[in-house]
Symmetry: C2
Amino acid sequence: MATDQLSRTFAALADPTRRAILLSLRERGEASVAELAAPFEMTPRAISKHIGVLESAGLVSRGRDAQRRPSQLRVDPLIEIDAWLADYRATWEHRFTALDADLRSEDAHDPQEMT
Amino acid sequence: MATDQLSRTFAALADPTRRAILLSLRERGEASVAELAAPFEMTPRAISKHIGVLESAGLVSRGRDAQRRPSQLRVDPLIEIDAWLADYRATWEHRFTALDADLRSEDAHDPQEMT
């Protein structure tokens, strides 16, 4: 398995439960394992394992409170994905602009079709 | 392994060789397996396997030319990631705005430090 930061982030996000945990942390600010496990039909142990994957990827940090060890969302790896996407965003915006121009040019040649 | 589209996209992107293949396709428009394999110290067979993963995730489409079967980039799954990121983008922009306000307020209280 690839060990660079971007690969670890993508691998951590390739699971719907882990994405749901991140969403929950985004909304709550912080939460314990028990609080995060509540909406899922999963054991706290299974949720703990998912949090561990998120923590290894730097997407979650854990508090020092020995009892609760509350998790918090860390956005830095998501900012890195956003930067990676930027080149491709330019590509699809370019494609949409070209498609839009094609459609407009068809309309111009074929005014009857539009009425 | 999770089988929803977003999970398949993230899993396909969790490998630096596959991301390099996408970048190459973005720059070239289309390319054969041999052309894509050239910059890597990998067999065409290994590159073919990576292209297969990208194709399964909908990130690459293959041409019908039986000899070359050129690959092309498909941006739809990347647009889906971009939409998924949108909520988190709001979160980090909010955090940066708050941090910026904190720094400005510190400057205002401590003008000596800045000179």
